[in-house]
């Protein structure tokens, strides 16, 4: 199985994100890099111009570069942004990850990835999407192993690669409202770029003190980190081609390295899980969705 690094979902700023991907491209064992802003059109991260430049720069690394697009497109400006990224991917001969049906519509006929925010809950939907250009699907995060098996069918049934979100804070939903701005009693229109102060989202706890969610602008994420490193054999058995590791701020190339060792059979499941936990003391992991349980649970 190949390793994909998903788009950076946080607002780290242009330079930090570019540097992050440069190092992943030239100093990590990832196979695929997804670049581009998915959450908020106001962020000053990787816009169309930066994407083009960065893609050319990373081309020498041998990694596959894919452009990701916005998850929720609500107005002309956002639509235009998606249009430019889709067109640029076409010019550069890269796949584009659609996260809103706008991108599927604009990219029709181009090689596309149906991202985790496109609703792909059955094989008939994938069969239809294949007819408009989708060559890879990133399954919805809430699917169980059993549901995944049903959706992607047997290897060879679908002319499409299958990618599974396997590590990172899970994106759970989008809203028109910016919850990070709201936390500081600011409207979205004057958010003062508060997301920049929270490199892995604004922690949101229950009143009895347990970590629950992360507010990441208009996106809400799991506070727990999805981690399917102990399930890799089962994932492989399902016919998944690619695991997606979702960017985190610290020691992420080591995370990628541990996953590579695990996928190559150089680390057993228990050791890999322990080493990932060591990299990230204090983090609570979860794998509930994969086991047909509530997403926040950790099934031993």
């Amino acid at each position: 199985m190949r390793i994909a690094v998903g788009p950076v979902l946080f607002d780290w700023g242009k330079r930090a994100i570019e540097e992050y991907y440069r190092r992943l491209a030239f100093e990590s064992e990832a196979d695929i890099l997804y670049l581009g802003e998915v959450v908020c059109s106001k962020r000053l991260g990787l816009g169309p111009e930066e994407l083009g430049r960065l893609a050319r720069e990373l081309a020498g690394s041998g990694k596959e570069v894919v452009f990701s697009t916005l998850g929720l497109v609500m107005n002309d400006g956002e639509l235009e942004r998606v249009r430019r990224v889709v067109a640029l991917a076409g010019e550069l001969g890269l796949k584009v990850e659609a996260n809103d049906m706008a991108a599927i519509g604009l990219g029709e006929g181009q090689p596309m990835v149906a991202g985790p925010h496109i609703n792909t809950y059955n094989p008939e939907t994938l069969a239809f999407l294949a007819t408009v250009g989708v060559v890879r699907v990133v399954l919805p995060v809430e699917l169980s192993a059993r549901a995944i098996a049903g959706v992607i069918g047997k290897r060879g049934d679908l002319p499409m690669e299958r990618e599974l979100f396997a590590y990172g804070h899970m994106p759970l939903t989008f809203s028109a409202r910016c919850y990070t701005a709201r936390a500081f009693e600011l409207p979205k229109s004057n958010c003062q770029y508060k997301c920049g102060e929270f490199p892995e989202g604004l922690p949101t706890m229950t009143q009895d003190g347990s970590d629950f969610l992360l507010m990441n602008g208009i996106q809400t994420m799991s506070a727990r980190v999805c981690n399917l490193v102990a399930e890799t054999e089962e994932i492989q058995g399902l016919g998944v081609d690619i695991v997606r590791l979702s960017p985190r701020k610290e020691r992420f190339r080591e995370v990628v390295g541990l996953w590579r060792q695990r996928l190559d059979g150089r680390l057993d499941a228990v050791t890999a899980a322990a080493k990932l936990a060591e990299l990230d003391p204090g983090t609570r992991f979860c794998n509930g969705y994969f086991h047909g349980r509530p997403g926040l649970e950790q099934v031993p």
């Binding site: 998850g71 929720l72 497109v73 609500m74 107005n75 639509l79 998606v82 249009r83 809103d100 049906m101 706008a102 991108a103 599927i104 519509g105 609703n119 809950y121 059955n122 094989p123 008939e124 939907t125 069969a127 239809f128 999407l129 408009v132 919805p140 995060v141 809430e142 549901a147 049903g150 899970m170 759970l172 939903t173 989008f174 809203s175 028109a176 409202r177 919850y179 709201r182 936390a183 500081f184 409207p187 979205k188 229109s189 604004l202 922690p203 949101t204 706890m205 229950t206 009143q207 003190g209 629950f212 969610l213 507010m215 809400t220 799991s222 509930g288 047909g292 509530p294 997403g295 926040l296």
Partner: protein, 335 residues
């Protein structure tokens, strides 16, 4: 000028009749299974009731739309495809769909069946709507609650597809069809089971003088004496962020567009949808009657002369959770 439609929810046959009697131009309902996103016990229609409901609506000059807005599940997709067949057979005025595979099937099999794109399909821009129009010939899109009135007005200029908006009722604050909050905590999902925050996962506990509401064991809110407790959905919960305890996403309350009715109609929408198939017959009757009066008043008085009557707001507030209302996302400041 064609009048904007008042579209009322029906969780059962008595509610459907109440809606028609209260002046609804159209009603919408789903079947008693996971094929629609209000799959609650004791709710929704059998085939026989659906037939009676559609006949009743048609006899009284109202339209009836069938809801099929969840995603067919792999284990047994039959009920979803059967619902498409039924909608055509029963001569529903429209079938409301979210899934591309079902849209394909419905369009190929029943070229004359009007298709409305469900809010669960989360089509919030012209490129997405164009895509569904191009491939499936949808006549109408039900807009997710993520757009301002200004954005809706702009959208209308760029598409020939009819626009339907939510006018009153429970407020999803997330982009519909793309929310995993319920399944994250309970394992039950709107997209898969057609259920958000199922009652069986809810607990109300009295602890140390506080009423604590939990969903799937997660503390959603706690209330002191005299405070009204809301049903524990995550997006209306009270949590701790940035050193404050508050409704991190949204306060419990209802969406109510009456105060902006001229702007909403002026934006070019064709249908005002009342949420609440899970609510009582008396809710349906009350809200439909007020909405009917308000729309008629708008056409009588014009945009300039129209004012939301305090009496309407009072009656509507009394039906809604938290007894407050909001213009929600239609107003930019809300975002």
């Amino acid at each position: 000028m064609k009048k904007v439609e008042v579209l009322a929810p029906a969780g059962n046959l008595p509610s459907l009749k109440a809606a028609v009697a209260s002046g609804a131009d159209a009603v919408y309902f789903g079947f008693r299974n996971a094929t629609n996103a209000r799959n609650f016990e004791g709710l929704n229609f059998s085939e026989v009731e659906a037939r009676q409901g559609i006949e009743h609506a048609h006899r009284h000059g109202a339209r009836a739309n069938i809801v099929l807005n969840t995603f067919p599940q792999v284990d047994d997709p039959t009920p979803w495809y059967r619902t498409v067949d039924l909608a055509a057979e029963l001569r529903a005025d429209a079938l409301i769909l979210a899934n591309m595979a079902l849209l394909r099937y419905a369009r190929d099999r029943y070229p004359d069946l009007p298709l409305h794109l469900s809010v669960q399909a989360s089509a919030s821009n012209s490129a997405a709507i164009d895509f569904f129009q191009r491939h499936f010939g949808i006549e109408r899109v039900i807009l997710p609650r993520v757009l301002t009135i200004e954005e809706i007005r702009r959208l209308k200029e760029t598409t020939s597809v009819e626009l339907e908006v939510f006018a009153f009722g429970g407020l999803c604050v997330m982009a519909e069809g793309r929310c995993h909050l319920s399944s994250y905590v309970t394992g039950v999902s709107p997209n898969i089971e057609g259920v958000c925050s199922p009652a069986r996962a809810v607990r109300f506990d009295q602890e140390g003088g506080l009423l604590k509401t939990r969903l799937g064991g997660v503390l959603i809110a706690q209330y002191g004496e005299g405070e009204d407790a809301a049903y524990p959905t995550i997006c209306k919960g009270r949590f701790v962020a940035a050193d404050r305890v508050y409704h991190v996403m949204e306060e419990p309350g209802s969406l109510n567009i009456l105060e902006m009715l001229p702007e909403v109609i002026g934006a070019g929408v064709v249908s005002l949808k009342i949420e609440g198939r899970q609510r009582t017959k008396s809710y349906v009757a009350t809200v439909t009657r007020v909405m009917r009066e308000a729309v008629d008043a708008y056409y009588r008085l014009g945009a300039e002369g129209f004012r939301a009557r305090p009496g309407w707001l009072k009656v509507l507030n009394a039906t809604s959770e938290g007894t407050t209302h909001t213009l929600g996302t239609y107003q930019e400041a809300w975002q």
